[in-house]
Amino acid sequence: MTSLAADGPRGRVRRRPLFRAPSIIPGFGLTFGLSLTWLCLIVLIPLSAVFIKTAGMGWQHFADVALSERAIAAYRLSFGASLGAAFINAVFGLLIAWMLVRYDFPGKRVVNALVDLPFALPTAVAGIAFTTLYTANGWIGRVLEPLGIQVAFTWVGVVITLIFIGLPFVVRSVEPVLADVSRDVEEAAASLGATRAQTFRRVILPAIFPALMTGFAMAFARGVGEYGSVIFIAGNMPYRTEIAPLLIITQLEQYDYQGATGIATVMLIASFSLLLVINLLQAWSRKRTVD
């Protein structure tokens, strides 16, 4: 309270701040200090612990634990299944976004609200729900099993749950950009003799492509680290259906802290690289929309 008041416009003559541009609005010291301290204590220092612990391991030991055969198999499943799910979401997410932006139909508001379900539904709940649906006597498993398609406890199940987890990222990235595509441009294309398919491919798709890529990358990034929804359906067999986050937990339960930290380092480097890619894609998308 006092720091805000003392800093206020009625106070003493203000000296020019060293670090920031001058402003009559008070509270910079308090709010900046509070957020920076909190950020360091909760996020930056704990995250740096992973890298510092890994650095102390030595390269050889790091390679042994983080690039072991079992770890590589886990990365392959986590990254491969996320990539597959993100591709499927790019197609169907675009289709659902199209439906929500361009068409009117009964129940549209419900569909629109439920698209965000994966953001709101706890991952463990999604995990047991999907497992129950796809086991041999589940609503969907019952249909697929006689056809010889097994989803539960295989990598297919991992892809299925990751589709659920990633869907809203694609829909919500594409939706606003699609709504902004001007009908004038489409009419111009039409009057120049383009078919609907040509208009979509040549006019609409280029306009929404950066947003679609952003949604794709976000869905992919989320899938790579996903844990709760996947472990119930995955089967969790080492080398075959074990995702990377589960391997971290397994190492921790065996008190192998170095093994867990090594794999966590690989995951963190992957997520930070993806974060960079997503930021670049978003910048590209914004530039497109402004142009």
């Binding site: 402003s23 609005i25 802290y257």
Partner: protein, 279 residues
């Protein structure tokens, strides 16, 4: 085929709708329905028994406690960070925003692991904590920390674009009329950002109550003591106690539905999101 290039043929439209709604039903509607169907599979009596069971009640209490600490912590941080970032100009602002967003891109399991590395028995502060008989990992403080970490960006990232768009005119006007900093915040800023704040808090709370991976790493998994609702669901499910697992899960699903309804209401009633709340 009138307007052949500005809208689809009726057939194409019907096919798109059918595929879209089919996908929606398969991936969003069915998982939601199966939760309630399984929870009520043994009748309403078995459902209620599973919820009022002491371990389930303890899990509900712990979930509420963890959310009651982590959500307000994130509200204070979110408002402070948004104030510093949007009301002042200083170098390094975009780096600060990126750091605030960082927890969203970290795997939940890694989010739990980092606190084990800090406060666990083999961690940096482990020996000191053991000496002073303070337990953080495998206890409630660790679960609160992990929850704060995973929900860290929610409020701030909702407020930063909103407050940036609203600019500084209202605050500068209030201050030049003689208001103190706090008065300016309460009477000029807060009314402008309340719906955005509510929106962020809503999503923050849903994640705080539903977090599984991060909390799982730092929880002791002791029934009735360090199990939140999602962890309790896992234990019941792994014991093949499906009705009880889905009964507790249905409460979390209801929380998700309430969150979505309120969120839709905010977007619809106040035309909020992307456009700002205005007055």
């Amino acid at each position: 085929m009138r307007n052949g290039a500005t809208s689809e043929s009726r057939l194409a439209r019907a096919v798109i709708m059918a595929i879209g709604l089919g996908f929606f039903g398969l991936f969003l509607l069915m998982p939601l329905l199966v939760v309630f169907a399984q929870a009520l599979a043994g009748g309403i009596g078995a459902y209620l028994d599973a919820i009022v069971e002491p371990d389930a009640l303890a899990a509900i209490r712990l979930t509420l406690l963890v959310a009651a600490i982590s959500v307000p912590a994130n509200i204070v941080f979110g408002i402070a960070a948004a104030w510093a970032i949007t009301k002042f100009d200083f170098p390094g602002k975009s780096i600060l925003i990126t750091f605030i967003d960082l927890p969203f891109s970290v795997s939940p399991v890694v989010s739990g692991l980092i606190y084990v590395l800090l406060f666990g028995a083999q961690g940096w502060l482990g020996p000191w904590l053991a000496e002073h008989d303070i337990q953080i990992i495998f206890a409630v403080p660790g679960m609160v920390l992990a929850t704060i970490f995973v929900t860290f960006p929610f409020v701030a990232r909702e407020l930063i674009p909103l407050m940036a768009e609203q600019g500084r005119d209202d605050e500068e006007a209030a201050l030049s009329l003689g208001a103190t900093g706090w008065q300016t915040f309460w009477h000029a800023t807060l009314p402008n950002i309340r719906w955005g704040l509510l929106y962020g808090v809503l999503l923050c709370n849903a994640r705080a109550m539903g977090e599984f991976g991060a909390v799982s790493v730092v929880s002791g998994h002791i029934r009735g003591e360090t199990n939140t609702m999602p962890l309790h669901v896992e234990i019941l499910y792994n014991e093949y106690n499906f009705i009880a697992a889905f009964a507790v899960a249905s409460l979390l699903a209801l929380l998700a539905l309430v969150t979505l309804v309120l969120k839709s209401l905010l977007e619809w009633r106040y035309d909020y999101h992307g456009k700002g709340t205005g007055h």
